[in-house]
């Protein structure tokens, strides 16, 4: 009689209880895998941003106060050998709305010469860089708006700015960005914006933020201090933040969905542990006599322990499989794209999330089964045999 046989028999003993427990286990696990996918995606974006080594320099009081574009040369002047910084790209918020809709894209005007260096993660090929630099109206689009509005490479698109002076500008798409981190963005040339503003009577080229591409993490930290020190006590007082800190401000205010997901993940683990523990306790209590018989016929205590623990783990794994796999399949088939909660652009299930969920279930199964298993192991055989159900 193998362990597996015993376990399967035990689970088949009370199919109703098994069924209810499995469902009560599976539902929270479904929530868990979605929540964990979110958390994993966030961690991935965080790691990506850290590797990109970009430092954001904006006005200390608020991001909406623009800085003079001459600040770029002063920042570059801090490091003439380019030992610490590779390039500086000034950006200005455009807030372009897709005409006939209420959707405002995260659209920014960027310096033509350094955009592809500072944003090397857009993976622009040399030909695409040439196209960007040759065409005044060139723009680079993330995959989310491209999919939503059916834009393709080479299309001409118009956006209406939602900030004064409310210009409507036409752009020519030279690249559609594939990667997840840039999925919600729309970049175009700042010289085109400044010319258009000048034509409308607003001649003040400024930037809301300067992104500095640093050569190392240590360089980033030292530049952060030097840049803020350089502009302290001037009208253009700055605050420099790395990309993750910058994004964190928005994540918090955009509803802190990551925080919600993390909290839900913890709640789920607690609930399923309680559910599994409950069932195991019930199961053991009614089988006291049977387990005593096992011991009486010669099963060692450790074997009894293994049987009970194994049953708990098997229960947890079954519930987990039923909860996680359909959810993962659903999210794989219909990934939620087009989210704009801070840095997360979509909810896609990842293998890390699925494997992580299974591992957590295994741990919960073990945890929930330990106490009943120990009770079973420590059964005093003759006392237990004497007990009436």
């Amino acid at each position: 009689m193998t362990l597996t046989y015993v376990l399967m028999q035990n689970l088949r003993r009370n199919p109703l209880r098994m069924g209810l427990t499995v469902i009560a286990f599976a539902l929270p696990m479904a929530v868990f895998v979605a929540a964990i996918s979110f958390v994993v995606a966030l961690a991935r974006v965080g790691a990506h941003n850290e590797a990109q080594l970009r430092l954001g320099v904006h006005h200390k009081q608020t991001l909406t106060n623009p800085l003079p574009e001459a600040l770029r040369r002063r920042i570059e002047g801090l490091d003439p050998d380019r030992a610490r910084l590779a390039a500086v790209c000034g950006m200005r918020w455009f807030g372009g709305r897709v005409p006939e809709t209420q959707n405002t894209l995260t659209s920014l005007a960027a310096d033509v010469d350094t955009f592809h260096i500072v944003y090397s993660d857009t993976d622009m090929t040399p030909e695409e860089v040439v196209a960007w630099q040759r065409d005044r109206t060139a723009c680079v689009v993330g995959r989310n708006p491209a999919t939503t509005y059916g834009w393709k490479l080479g299309d001409r698109v118009t956006l209406e700015s939602t900030v004064p002076p409310y210009l409507a500008l036409e752009f020519h798409i030279v690249k559609v960005m594939d990667n997840a981190e840039r999925a919600n963005f729309f970049y175009f040339r700042r010289d085109y914006l400044d010319e258009s503003r000048k034509a409308a009577g607003f001649d003040d080229p400024r930037c809301n933020i300067f992104w500095v591409k640093c050569r190392s993490a240590a360089a980033l930290r030292s530049l952060q201090q030097d840049i803020d020190a350089l502009f302290a006590h001037t009208p253009d007082e700055t605050k420099s933040e790395d990309e993750n800190a910058f994004a964190a401000n928005f994540t918090q205010a955009a509803g802190d969905l990551p925080g919600l997901m993390q909290a839900m993940a913890v709640v789920v683990v607690v609930v399923v542990a309680l559910v599994a523990g409950n069932t195991m306790m019930m199961s053991i209590r009614e089988r006291t006599r049977e387990l005593a018989v096992f011991k009486a016929i010669g099963f060692q205590s450790s074997r009894v322990f293994t049987i009970v623990l194994g049953e708990s783990v098997l229960l947890a794994m079954i519930g987990s499989v039923i909860g996680v796999l359909p959810t993962a399949a659903l999210l794989y088939a219909f990934p939620v794209r087009g989210l704009s909660f801070g840095p997360i652009s979509g909810l896609e299930v990842s293998w890390v999330a699925v494997v992580g969920s299974m591992v957590i279930s295994l741990a919960v199964g073990l945890l929930a089964g330990i106490w009943p298993a120990m009770r079973a192991m420590r059964l005093h055989t003759t006392d237990a045999l004497r007990r009436v159900a």
Partner: protein, 393 residues
């Protein structure tokens, strides 16, 4: 004849472990549910305050919120041609010109690790007449000095807004504005703002245009007619009721609310199955006992009711623990949350408070879940064939 209540709760106490674990599951789910509902309630309360039916907000056409609207002064002046605007004691129309700035301030609830964009509104005396629910608690800003007053919720949630603190607002120079007083707005969106004198703030930020205007209409006026007049060829601006404006801005919050309720809904379902599980166990071990009771003379109806009562007891005790846990969480960990308006780029701060209505809702939900989960086992138990059940060991 009904079974005595003491029988039921003694029964639950005998099976301590099962009861405890089931109650805990319910408590956890209820705790989360109460938090969600309280947050949704805070959003609703704020939005309901911000729906004065006589108030209109006027923006530049093409702007999506006050923050990105630039209203030139001469276009603003055209608004005085509208007859339906209420007048003050001196016969002047109640139109409030306003200008929005932002300032980045540390959030108190995470120790200043992240910063929030707080709205700064430049107002004139007309603002206090138009925004009827704003009440000063203390001094107002003096007209000649660089002073500001702070909304109550903003002062509670963001750093550097206590009386006497100096906030750097403005552009082109370090412009310190001293906080001299607070104001309340019945919990509406304006309580998350800082208010200052319009000319002083325009000076500090080198601006020449307003952001928006708020109008108070006469009681007999038709808001839609006035909106048409504002968007018409004579004035050519955008107007909407205050309620519509804030409802548009609450889009992000509605998404958050939907997601959180979806998650809690699924967890409640899991709690229902857990209760059903426990109830089946509670019934299974007592088959003999129920048969005995039937022979004594209790009807099958009273057994059914009795089991429902036990499930209700589990649900209510779990619910009570969950509510208590949520209250402890809110006091100990934090009861504040702020969220961006959809287009304002500034945050609305919320105070999450439990109130009896929320607790009642949570208890009602759990009672329904408990009863639903216990229905099938209870019916089964009440339909026992007495004699064969008696024979069971």
């Amino acid at each position: 004849m009904a079974l005595p209540l003491s029988y039921h709760w003694r029964n639950l106490l005998v099976r301590r472990t099962t009861t405890a674990l089931t109650v805990l599951v319910i408590a956890v789910v209820v705790g989360v549910f109460v938090w969600m509902v309280s947050f949704a309630g805070a959003i609703d309360r704020t939005m309901s305050v911000a729906s004065d039916p006589r108030k209109l907000i006027v923006l530049k056409q093409g702007a999506t919120s006050e923050s990105n609207s630039a209203l030139p002064v001469d276009e603003f002046n055209k608004l005085s041609q509208i007859d339906e605007i209420a007048r003050d004691a001196d016969g002047r129309p109640l139109i409030s010109p306003e200008m929005l700035l932002q300032v980045s301030l540390p959030r108190l609830r995470d120790g200043g690790r992240t910063s929030a964009n707080v709205a700064v509104r430049g107002v004139t005396e007309a603002a206090f007449a138009v925004h009827r629910r704003i009440r000063l608690t203390g001094r107002a800003f003096s007209l000649g000095e660089r002073e500001v007053i702070v909304g109550r919720t903003a002062a509670e949630q963001f750093g550097g807004l206590q009386i006497g603190d100096v906030v750097d607002i403005g552009y082109g120079g370090v412009r310190g504005f001293r906080v001299v007083g607070y104001f309340t707005g019945d919990g509406g969106p304006m309580e998350s703002e800082i208010w200052g004198h319009l000319p002083a703030l325009m000076n500090a930020s080198n601006r020449t245009m307003y952001s928006s205007a708020s109008l108070l209409l006469k009681e007999v006026a038709e808001p839609d007619a006035v909106i048409n007049q504002v968007t018409g060829p004579a004035i050519q601006l955008a107007a909407m009721s205050e309620a519509d404006y804030w409802e548009n801005q609450s889009r992000l919050m509605q998404v958050y609310r939907f997601v959180s309720f979806l998650l809690v809904g699924i967890m409640s379902l899991a709690a229902a199955f857990s209760i059903a599980n426990s109830m089946f166990a509670l019934v299974a071990g007592r088959v003999h006992e129920f048969a005995m009771m039937r022979t004594i003379g209790f009807s099958s109806g009273s057994i059914l009711t009795g089991l429902m009562i036990e499930a209700l007891m589990l649900a209510l005790v779990g619910g009570a623990i969950g509510c208590a846990a949520c209250a402890v969480w809110l006091t100990a960990v934090g009861h504040t949350k702020d969220m961006f308006g959809a287009n304002t780029f500034t945050t609305l701060a919320f105070d999450i408070r439990m109130n009896p209505a929320v607790i009642a809702k949570a208890m009602a939900l759990m009672a329904a879940v408990g009863v639903g989960g216990a229905l099938v086992p209870a019916i089964r138990a009440s339909r026992l064939a007495v004699v064969s059940a008696l024979r069971e060991a």
